[in-house]
């Protein structure tokens, strides 16, 4: 347990030192969302119509792009093999890294989302649903993403392969997330969508670290 | 001749029906040809490698 906490502390320290990763994932999210009004045009009605989708897609992309930080740097400089040699089961090491990933990516996105929702003219009813779905959905992004990150470890410049593997797996999160917000915006009941999203995250918590650990072990062979 | 022309016209939908069947046959044929060719190539390489090896082993003895 002490080692587990030590690993999380280490990863957070590195995240802060290496160019303020937290700050930067957020910046990507902000930039992508601001590109849209530029591409689509400024009409408020159109923007409001596409707001939940744009926000969630941008969140997906921001989470996915920061995945290469998850294991790659540690793999390349030998830290990952040192971590697995620490005596802690690999599943726990992976879980520690997933937690850091969420703290440095999912959480900032969650906090920034309301501001962007205002920029995109999103209707007020959607706010609570937006926050709630982001809170429940972003951990699933980190969990599922870990599998892709681990699988592409031995692949040089695996970044784009990573996106091919991970984005299809992210689609349910996107769909449940958006449909919950849409339901709320139209005054319908968002609960079933949110419950489905929660079920997805719950199922991912035990399964994903296990699958990712298998992939990590493979990459060290 | 009229029957054949009618057949090819597909009730005015020739532009849809024939490409659909065509692409199916093309893709299936391509998959088949590449697989069989790949298999033949692999057989050939394998036998030549084995011959090579047998000859060398014979010469070493």
């Amino acid at each position: 347990m002490k080692s587990f906490r030590a690993i999380i502390a280490r990863d957070l320290l590195l995240a802060v030192r290496q160019g303020g990763a937290t700050f930067l994932a957020l910046v990507f999210f902000l930039l992508t969302v601001t590109l849209f009004p530029l591409g689509i045009g400024p009409e408020p009605a159109v923007l409001a119509r596409v707001a939940p989708g744009v926000l969630w897609v941008a969140a997906l992309l921001a989470a996915m792009l920061s995945l290469d930080r998850l294991f790659q740097a540690d793999f390349e400089d030998g830290s990952l093999e040192q971590l697995t040699l620490s005596g802690l089961p690999v599943g726990f090491i992976v879980l520690a890294k997933i937690i850091t990933h969420w703290l440095t990516t999912g959480l900032p996105l969650l906090l920034a989302a309301p501001v962007l929702a205002v920029l995109l003219n999103m209707n007020d009813e959607g706010f609570a649903a937006l926050l709630l779905t982001m809170l429940i959905g972003t951990p699933a992004l980190s969990l599922i993403g870990a599998i892709g990150a681990a699988l592409t470890l031995t692949v040089r410049r695996g970044g784009v392969l990573l996106s091919l593997l991970v984005l299809p797996l992210y689609i349910p999160v996107l769909i449940f997330g958006v449909s919950a917000i849409d339901a709320a915006v139209h005054g319908l009941n968002a609960k079933p969508h949110i419950l489905l999203l929660a079920a997805l995250t719950m199922a991912a918590i035990p399964l994903c670290p296990w699958a990712a650990a298998a992939a990590v072990k493979l990459s060290l062979e | 001749m009229d029957g054949l022309g009618e057949f090819f016209a597909m009730g005015g939908y020739a532009g849809y029906v024939w490409p659909a069947f065509g692409i199916v046959l093309i893709v299936m044929a391509l998959l088949w040809i590449t697989s069989v060719r790949g298999w033949n190539n692999s057989e050939r390489t394998l036998t030549s490698l084995r011959d090579h090896r047998r000859r060398r082993e014979a010469s070493e003895e």
Partner: protein, 202 residues
């Protein structure tokens, strides 16, 4: 006692070596030798459970290490070509991280830096280190937390005479405590009372 009996290892579907036997008792050092590509790194990684044995058995005091690989991992240190030193962290932080992950104490961190004579670089970010200073930082990990078995893959690479002497002293102290060492090298390590294991290319 760490023992391998009739070990065989594969890399990329190819048998690298087979029928290999070795035994390391408490306080002993085993030096692996052999030409480039004969499998020294492979054997060390196998001993660290990073690779699987293709045949044979590795045992620790008689029990197969594959029964509880986590336990075996916790009792060894592995220092390889990749040195797990983060450029963004200072020398001290780099050493402290691994000490903490392995549940070691503060004072050992100081001792480790002293042992490799890098106390003066304590607060330097590792990206500004020269090759030898980098290596010393990686090696300091050995001293910063205790482990019964040290697996060292060409540990003296980039070290100057002083650095090599530091390593020799660290190894001697470790062995005096009953520790075991298994090291691969091409040049003289300057250890006394070692056994050699010569690997032959297949």
């Amino acid at each position: 006692m760490f023992q391998g009996r009739d070990i065989a290892c594969d890399r990329g579907e190819r048998r690298i070596f087979s029928n290999l036997d070795f035994r390391i008792m408490q306080g002993q050092a085993l030096v692996l030798r052999g030409p480039n590509g004969c499998g020294k790194t492979t054997l060390l990684r196998t001993a660290a459970t990073l690779l699987k044995v293709a045949r044979g058995k590795l045992t620790w005091d008689g029990t197969d290490i594959s029964e509880d690989p986590e336990e075996h991992r916790a009792r060894l240190h592995f220092v390889g070509h990749l040195d797990a030193v983060k450029g963004a962290l200072s020398v001290r932080e780099n050493i402290a991280i691994w000490a903490k992950v392995r549940g070691s104490t503060e004072d050992r961190i100081e001792a480790a830096m002293a042992a490799f004579e890098i106390l003066h670089l304590m607060d330097t970010p590792a990206q500004y280190l020269s090759a030898g200073q980098h290596r010393r930082t990686a090696l300091a990990r050995l001293v910063a937390s205790p482990a019964a078995l040290w697996l060292l893959d060409e540990p003296t690479v980039s070290l100057d005479a002083d650095g090599t002497a530091c390593l020799q002293r660290a190894i001697a102290a470790h062995r005096a405590d009953g520790g075991m060492v298994m090291a691969a090298t091409h040049i003289e390590l300057g250890l006394d009372d070692v056994e050699f294991l010569q690997l032959k290319p297949q």
